[in-house]
């Protein structure tokens, strides 16, 4: 057994706990601890990527209990990709926050580490109840992070966010209760095995459980009727927190892929799975359209970015609900791009807002701006990437999605909202850019603060990563295609996790 695998959970846990105990440490030491921990996470995530590239499934049995009796962590290509994305994103968030945002409230770094522990755990776990526990870990950290810095807007948004997520947790437990009552197991591989051979009489309850799970993950991912908490919460959060939250909706997406395509997907065309995907398809398309309209109607750059998150969720869920291997690989590429770029825009809104004389990131205010050339160029490059124009990763990912969906019969239903929302994003971003960088005067020199090099560099490196995703698209695409192929072979997953157990129980019954 390889103990490296549990490190993405243990490192942030220890760092977070230590930071909590040592809260009297001066802020410099807290920062270096936090940065060190996220750097380690990046290293382990790279190891995970390499490891998952060699062996399809790496298992870690907690306490060395045989699955399905004990909790098992499973590392495959999809989880490895998500781990690396989280680690990189959190590294940039910590670096950005270390320039001062972390001082607006207490315990920023400790909370961030706990949040990372929850996110990494959710990506690694192979047990449905354990997934619930890690969801709660990441949620309770996110409640506190959202409120970081205080203020009326955050209290108001935080209340909505907490209440809807607590209701979601209750529904999650209900779904788990139904599944356990029917199958007697909560291990994902074992569940898949039992669900595939479930008797006809259990089907209605299985459908009910899967639809409940869809609602729960829909709240996390911000699917249409459940997304109204998101714009307010994301635009109220402080910039590094909002940037980190860009991965949170993707946790919902990941859970849907894992649960509906793997756990419910072992039986070819399982009815419970079909029901969920049939619901998901129209709702995701409407989410996507609504996101596009929201982008155009937003009154500040942070709200605009929040609606861009909704657009990305709509595209991801719509492509996933078509249940196609190629399309899933393409949407995973889009996931990498959209997470990176929405995070960039949350940071950019804060960065530019700091150098405007007044109005922060609101569009209604025309305000003198300092460092117009540098900030304007960064904004232009980021906007080109976000709007999916070449030569950035957005273009590659959207072209891939369009190309691989063209084989489907109803592809126009997907093409129309994707292209329309892209157009609306271009319109909204060019309006924002021209309003901010062309019309106002250069800010008077004596009042202007010096440009914060570290913050700007952080944002630039993130944009460069998006660019390099496009340059090294071929190896990334190969990896993602392999990841999608594994997702569509749930029998391999079951075999890897339960291999010994199923063999033994067969011997006993014989």
């Amino acid at each position: 057994m390889n103990h490296l695998m549990i490190m993405p959970i243990v490192i942030p846990l220890l760092t977070g706990a230590f930071l909590l105990v040592m809260y009297r440490y001066n802020i410099g030491r807290q920062r270096s601890l936090s940065i060190g921990s996220t750097l380690l996470l990046v290293i382990f995530a790279v190891w995970a990527i390499l490891q998952a590239g060699v062996t399809d499934y790496t298992l870690y049995r907690l306490g060395n209990w045989q699955p399905p009796f004990g909790i098992v962590l499973v590392l495959d290509r999809l989880s490895a990709i998500m781990l690396l994305l989280t680690a990189l994103l959190s590294l940039f968030c910590v670096l950005y926050a270390s320039r001062g945002s972390d001082r607006e409230g207490s315990h920023f770094h400790a909370l961030l580490q706990f949040q990372l522990m929850g996110i990494n755990g959710a990506f690694l776990t192979g047990d449905l109840f354990n997934l619930f526990v890690f969801f709660e870990v990441l949620l309770i950290a996110s409640y506190a992070l959202l409120l970081h810095g205080g203020g009326r807007a955050r209290s108001r948004a935080g209340l909505h966010y907490v209440v809807i997520n607590l209701a979601g947790s209750a529904l999650f437990l209900l779904a788990l209760g139904i599944l356990y009552g029917l199958t007697g197991t909560l291990n994902m591989a074992d569940l898949a095995r039992v669900i595939a051979t479930a008797p006809e009489a259990d089907l209605p309850l299985l459908k009910a459980a899967s639809l409940l799970l869809m609602v729960v993950f829909g709240i996390k991912a911000a699917l249409l009727p459940l997304l109204f908490w998101l714009p307010r919460a994301y635009s109220a959060a402080s910039a590094p927190v909002a940037a980190l939250f860009a991965i949170m909706t993707k946790v919902g997406f990941y859970s849907m892929v894992r649960v509906f395509l793997v756990v419910f997907g072992l039986d070819e065309g399982s009815p419970a799975n079909d029901t969920v995907l049939a619901w998901l398809w129209p709702m995701a398309l409407v989410t996507l359209s609504l996101g596009g309209i929201g982008v155009l109607g937003a009154s500040s750059l942070r709200t605009l970015t929040a609606y861009m998150v909704i657009v990305s969720v709509g595209i991801l869920l719509a492509t996933m609900s078509r249940n196609d291997e190629q399309l899933l690989a393409a949407s995973l590429f889009y996931l990498l791009h959209s997470t990176c770029m929405t995070a960039v825009f949350f940071l950019l809104a804060d960065l530019i807002g700091r150098y405007r004389e007044n109005g922060y990131d609101r569009f209604s205010v025309i305000s003198p701006l300092s460092h117009r050339w540098i900030l304007g160029t960064v904004f232009l490059v980021a906007a080109v990437s976000m709007a999916s124009l070449p030569p950035f990763s957005g273009f590659v990912s959207k072209a891939w999605i369009l190309q691989s969906s063209s084989r489907l019969s109803d592809y126009l239903w997907l093409w129309a909202p994707i292209l329309m929302s892209g157009l609306l994003i271009i319109a909204a971003l060019s309006r924002a850019g021209s309003g901010w960088f062309w019309r106002p005067e250069q800010r008077a020199d004596e009042a202007a603060p010096a440009l914060d090099g570290a913050r700007t560099a952080t944002v630039c490196v993130m944009i460069a990563i998006s660019f390099s995703l496009a340059i090294f698209a071929q190896p990334v695409m190969d990896y993602l295609e392999a990841a999608a192929r594994l997702i569509y072979e749930p029998s391999g997953y079951v075999e890897a996790v339960l291999g010994d157990y199923v063999g033994q129980s067969r011997e006993v019954t014989e």
Binding site: F129, V133, E136, I140, Y143, L147, G151, R152, S155, R156, G158, L159, H160, V162, V163, L166, A167, S169, A170, L173, L174, L176, G177, I178, Y180, G181, G184
Partner: protein
């Protein structure tokens, strides 16, 4: 016993949902608490309802499934701490926003 459990579950859940949909934070918190009680009871009953059977193998012939009890224990701890958090948050919001309405302001206040 099944009937009693079913009715209790129904009452807890429906009152919980009703209270969550109210406009004041106190009733929402109360509703979340009731809902989580209902959910915990539901989870517990998923190990099947039996009497006089301990969750220990070997002592008696009919033992009960210990796993739902472990799950419920985890769920209780989590929902308890979350309730504590949401109470504090509701108080903080009520003080900062000077209103205990869930939106921070009462839309009908001007009309009264």
């Amino acid at each position: 016993m099944e009937l009693v459990i079913a009715i209790t579950l129904g009452v807890l859940t429906s009152t919980g949902v009703y209270l969550i949909l109210r406009a004041r934070t106190f009733s929402v918190v109360l509703g979340l608490t009731l809902l989580s009680h209902g959910v915990n009871l539901f989870l517990f009953s998923m190990g099947r309802l039996t009497t006089a059977s301990p969750a220990v193998i070997g002592l008696v012939e009919n033992y009960t499934d210990p796993l739902p009890q472990a799950l419920v224990l985890t769920a209780i701890v989590i929902s308890f701490s979350m309730t504590a958090f949401v109470v504090v948050l509701a108080l903080k919001a009520a003080v900062e926003l000077r209103s205990d309405h869930v939106d921070g302001e009462d839309p009908n206040e001007d009309r009264q």
